[in-house]
């Protein structure tokens, strides 16, 4: 059987990245934000918006819609004569790298030439606030959690984080190191919500508990903004404006017995979806974790960073917390620099699409916290939901 290592590896590239400002109130709709980011991505790639003929947008999380700007809305505004390929990637932040998987497959199979992947979100000023119970979809499985007042993403991730801390002995100081390193990176990034505003361990530890073991500093930002990416075939990428970021590995995974953020009935609660995704990802890329030089790990919550280090095989099970201790191993000069733009804890919460854009900048050599000689970059999607991940490289 054909393997993506042979059929998809290095066949497609991210050639354009675009972004709006990240803000508490963008003062315009999701469609407007998506168009701004898409036009930015076209200019970055050096293509006309009319050349886009494919689109991947975020889909639903169960019964709840995630993306309010549809592919038709965006195509209409961009003057695209016809979209010949369009698809949705579901499950909120879990979808981010999956958009690139669909786009890479489409351009490789010739279903489209230029595929736009985007996310436009008004998590701060809009009607859907991910931290609030009013946003919760009504799929029946929520009846097993919601009647107990168990109604926030923070609490759902806290539940499996608590168990992980119990099993591994991870500490709040180790989680604090993740928050602090992300913030240090954001301090150097003028786009970041926390640009120029550092965080100390003292501030982290004295911040009020939201839902044990999480304080405000363990949870991601709520903001408005949009990020758009353009994918095309490796052949076309060679003639465009930017150095292409090759899609060397990409994958999705649900893991066993998956629910939306409330997968509490598995043999081990945690993030097996990323273990499964990681196996496929590294197999397609023909790499191992030690080949990765910098990682943009989905960090809606601090604990997801050390948990992913374990799930992806960077460290042994139970050693993720210790790896993050003190922060030096995950700093720009460390063994595995992470979230170099500040991540979702400190740059912006664009459901992981900003992590992909940062991965592309690392490959191009244009990041605000540039890792010298970065040629192999990992990006991951949201956890506690079906997820996805991506390895970007400079090609051969």
């Amino acid at each position: 059987m054909a393997h993506p290592k042979d059929t998809l590896r290095n066949k497609a590239c991210i050639v354009g990245i675009g972004s709006t400002e990240f803000t508490r109130n963008a003062g315009r709709s999701e469609i407007h934000l998506a168009v701004d980011a898409a036009m930015g991505a076209c200019a970055d790639a050096g293509i006309q918006s009319e050349e886009i003929d494919g689109c991947v947008r975020f889909g639903s999380a169960g019964a709840a819609p995630v993306e309010f700007a549809t592919e038709s809305d965006v195509a209409r505004c961009l003057g695209i004569p016809n979209l010949r390929y369009f698809v949705e990637a579901p499950w909120g932040g879990g979808a981010c790298c999956a958009t690139i998987m669909h786009a890479a497959a489409a351009v490789t199979l010739g279903l489209a030439k230029y595929v736009l992947c985007f996310r436009a979100i008004r998590a701060a000023s809009g009607t859907v606030r991910y931290g609030r119970p009013t946003t919760i979809p009504m799929d029946s499985h929520w009846s097993m959690t919601m009647p107990y007042g168990f109604q926030s993403p923070t609490s759902w991730v806290a539940m499996f984080t608590k168990r992980w801390m119990y099993e591994t002995g991870a500490t709040r100081e180790q989680l604090g190191a993740v928050a602090i390193v992300s913030r240090e990176n954001a301090v150097r990034n003028p786009r970041a919500m926390f640009y120029g505003r550092p965080l100390t361990m003292e501030e982290y530890l004295s911040s009020g508990m939201m839902c044990d073991p999480f304080t405000l500093h363990d949870t991601c930002l709520e903001n408005d903004g949009s990020v758009a990416l353009i994918v095309t075939s490796a052949d076309r990428a060679k003639d465009l404006k930017q150095k292409p970021a090759y899609i060397t590995g990409v994958g999705e995974g649900t893991g066993w017995d998956s629910y939306c953020m409330t997968s509490f009935y598995r043999p081990e609660i945690g993030i097996p979806e990323m273990e499964e995704t990681g196996k496929d990802l590294f197999a397609m890329a023909d790499m191992k974790p030690s080949d990765i030089q910098v990682a943009q790990l989905y960090d809606a919550f601090t604990s997801l960073v050390p948990m992913q280090l374990e799930a992806l095989g960077f460290v042994k099970k139970g050693e993720g917390g210790a790896f993050c201790e003190g922060g030096d191993r995950i700093r720009p000069t460390g063994q595995l620099p992470i979230n170099t733009a500040g991540g979702m804890l400190s740059e912006a919460y664009i459901h992981g699409m900003n992590g992909i854009a940062e991965g592309v900048r690392q490959i191009r050599g244009t990041a605000t916290t540039q890792i010298k000689g970065a040629e192999r970059v990992l990006v991951t999607g949201g956890l506690g939901v079906p997820t996805s991940a991506l390895i970007l490289t400079k090609g051969k």
């Binding site: 009647p147 109604q151 926030s152 009020g208």
Partner: protein
């Protein structure tokens, strides 16, 4: 401090909704009974409910009564209000059932402080009336 509701906000209670294969769970709760799905063929326990036994693919799924005994597998304490119906602090527990393994379920605690909780703590079942219309399962400390 255990579950305490501010009933001025009882309209914010999330009324359980159920697919056809889930209704038995909530019907039993109304009778103050805790039941889980069990396969009539391979005898596997399952929760949350599903239409078919994932193991042996049988559709002969039955509702069988739980002994209501379990241990805390994980837990969280809400210290910041998310829904005004639920007075903070309150605990949400993930309980692994002793006699219906591998079943786990989410619920609240009736009689504990957050400081008392620990992973592995033995608990037993009770029921809690949210309103005249709605009841939820709840756990309390179990004496060894």
């Amino acid at each position: 401090m255990a579950l305490q509701l501010n009933r001025r906000y009882v309209q914010y209670f999330f009324e359980p909704v159920a697919e056809s294969f889930e209704e038995g769970f909530w019907e039993a709760v109304k009778r103050r009974e805790l039941v889980f799905q069990r396969c009539g063929k391979c005898r596997e326990w399952m929760h949350p409910p599903r239409p078919m036994c994932y193991k042996c693919k049988s559709f002969d799924l039955r509702w069988e009564k739980s002994t209501g005994k379990g241990k805390i597998y994980s837990y969280v304490t809400f210290t910041r209000e998310v829904n005004p119906l639920y007075v903070v602090p309150f605990e949400v527990v993930l309980v692994e059932m002793d006699d219906e393994k591998p079943v786990r379920m989410i619920a609240n605690m009736l009689d504990t402080t957050p400081e008392e909780l620990y992973i592995g703590m033995p608990v037993e079942l009770d029921f809690y009336d949210v309103s005249e219309k709605h009841t939820i399962p709840i756990f309390k400390k179990r004496k060894a």
